[in-house]
Amino acid sequence: MSRRITDVLGDVVMPLVCGGTIHVGAPLSVAEVRRLEQELPHAATEIDVIDDARASIISEIAVDPPPVIFGADELSLAAAVHNLLFLVHPRAAEGWRKASTKSQVLAAASELASGGPPSDRREVLAFHSLLHNLFAITRTDVTVTWWTGSAVFRGRTPPNRLTAWPTMRRVRQDHTTAGFGQLFGALENLPVLARLLSRSPLTHLLATSPSAPPLAWEDAVIVLRDADMARVVCSAALAPSDPKAKVALPARYGAAFEDMLERGPDPGDARAVAAFLVHLNALLALAEAAAGDRSSAVLDAVLASERVAQRPRGLVTWLALPQALASAAPLLSMPPGIAEDSALAAVWGRHRRQVAKAVGDAVIDALAERLRATLGDAAHRDHPRL
């Protein structure tokens, strides 16, 4: 029985955007999605509700939100998410007897998620408004134990025959919640997930899940070139109050920047990312400007020498970037305006000394050398606009 567009919008797209229950059924093939695209004009009522919710989400990010209309691209992305969720469907797990079956569903999801990174601000915001809940999707699993056995129901309600007479049959129900890592974190899903998130770089930048695929700055640099979106990323990056959590996202950005330098990126993109990471350093200094002459509590906590082994990857790169840029690209090493504020300049200098003492000159010199090789002549241009 073929599905109707209203079913897909109600069961998958609307809960994905507005929250609620996503109903995962049989996977959607590419041909089926193309057929559903033709039916989109006949589901104006559902699409209006979805677009209103997306506009509300975008209004939290942008001052002048662009209009978004649910179209074929959005339907393909939602279908890709649905197919990825089908891979952890209990019936699907039982049915992988043929080796190629799973790869067929993966291939369909991969094709639906393809299309390349967004080309303009409207697309970035439109795709983010669709996928902003991707990392918040959960599934409740129930383990039912009775006097002669047990059974696990993943994302399903146990039948009444198993839960009846709970006292006599000694029935116990344990509820556990599966998060992003359990739902999407399988190794073979990573390429598809990376392709999906390359279409919504803002969602990828705001992702705090440790199971999120590595970030590719080449796809995400478009976000930094828009003031509204860059501001949202800055705000989210330094929002947590716990020092370890506060540096988690910036460290992820630093690790992605390390990987970017290995790929020989466009110097303009590398400069924009470097300036953004330096800006995050300045925001950290600004947050501690009221702390007086004391050394930074956040840097003390995350750079403590006894916790060297627990430092997240990319943390050192993020924190050491201003010093490395001071020799590789002096214009980018300090955001404009810091020198005018004496209190902020003092905190900035204190942070830099604290970082230099903790990470050592060798690390900073090595980073500066790599930056010099990447930025080249671009290092002496003006400060990029974020």
């Binding site: 969720l85 190629s100 390429p191 990857r313």
Partner: protein, 544 residues
Amino acid sequence: MTVRRERARAAAKVYPRFMLDHVALGQARFMTPGIAADPRGVALGRFALLVFPALDGLVSWLRLAAAETSIDDLVPAMTIHSARTPLKSRAILLQIAATSSYAVDRASRLARLAGGATYTGSGKHFVKYRDDRSPYGYDATSATAVPEGFDLVAHDEEVSQSYARDQEISLANLLLRLSLGRVPASSPQATGEGRQHLLIAARRGLAGGVIRYLWRNRVTAEVGLARPTSRSAFQDSDHELCIARVRDLPERMRELFLATPGIDVFAPVAANVAVEVGYRHVIDLSACTSVFPEDRTFLFRGDRGAGEPVLTLKGPLELSAIEHVTDIDLGITVDAVAAGAPQPGTLPLAVSAPDPLGVRARLEPSSAAPRNIKATLIPLERAEWLKKLVFFLPEHSVRGHRIAVTDRGIVVVGDAGIDLIPIGEHLTEHAPGLLIPIGMEIAPRVMPEVLAHALGHDAGLVTIMPRDGSPFQLKDTALLPLERSVLARVTVKETQSVSFESEPTAAPSVVNDPVGRFALWGFPSGPKRKALPPAPESEPAPES
């Protein structure tokens, strides 16, 4: 013939046929256990295995890696083993976490430079890591078990080599055993030039001389004693070292210390690691500081002929400022202190009884021009005047004045002057915090410090000597800003705030609908992985 067949069978057991296949772009399934495609499509396991034929290859790799990046990131998951092959040859296995294919790319590049090979895998099977011939890596065409008695198999294009791990090599021990190399004399590192901080380790007998020498030359330093731990009970464990951490040591002193026997000069490379000046460790130690335990300090010595190559000191260095360690001359003896009798020519230690010649300090009119008018003492009955005056005071006066209400009157203090409050008795500051009425001076004319001492005046106190009555004091903290004191409590009604934020959306949850046994029936198959790409559509031949 039978023997040959037996050998061939044995060889087949230890060298299983394990052909490698090139990984294709987008390949999702792999035959090798523990291998998956990373987001770039490169076949990658949880670990990268670097195999070196000898220890010098491993050291070369560590040296190259330390120069390019921080090894500290790799240390938590790093293991080094000496291993043997079925033919009893030796190899060194270095296993690191494969956090990303970029990190393994670098490790592989450096391993090639150091004469090693790179494999990737998650458990016992490791396949060759990607190279120019197969940019997405390699995968096995079939899987076989690891031969008995061996821990892992590294599969190359030509051969599969089994390894049995013999013993683990500690990275810390390796770093401590490596010899230091001499730095060329022309290099600044040879003399410690340009180093802001240096550590000087001197024998206990030379400590006094070194400390006096540093103190006389006004070198900022901290000193302490440390006893190196000894690995052998037969070694001399009594020699104690005087450790001095000096800052900006002048060149002439540095050269003198370097040339003096019994004194070693070290350049710190981390909080608890230092290398002797004139020498350099093969591996950049600043890139692997996590290897060295925090509770010990390591001093690497270049001259291995003179005792331990590495001086290991217990605990982090706890040093005292040199100004508290220099020799002092008390001028008294213990017996004199015990007897309470003063030595000739020195001050007595005990405080003597009050002098019968002492006089009381009093206020007298002064002809000198008043200055430093800082406060006013307003009688309590004039409080209403002050309240009315507050409405006319400019903003900076309301903000800059401090006030305290006491039983002797209302004290108003203004650090920038009190001219705008023309009521009460104005007070001038005779000494910091010591206030006397305007136009008066204190007799006898003693130093302000002496007067403060006699009045019991100290920092944090405000002492006022009014024209009539005895002096009184109040704590400086009792003076509150005027703007906080004058406002009476204002009753403010609470109102409801209106939020313009959009309501947060609930997190979506998944419910798996029943899909039946044939959910994938008729699901179209994907493109064939190894099929050739479709031929380009040929253009129609031009009509002749």
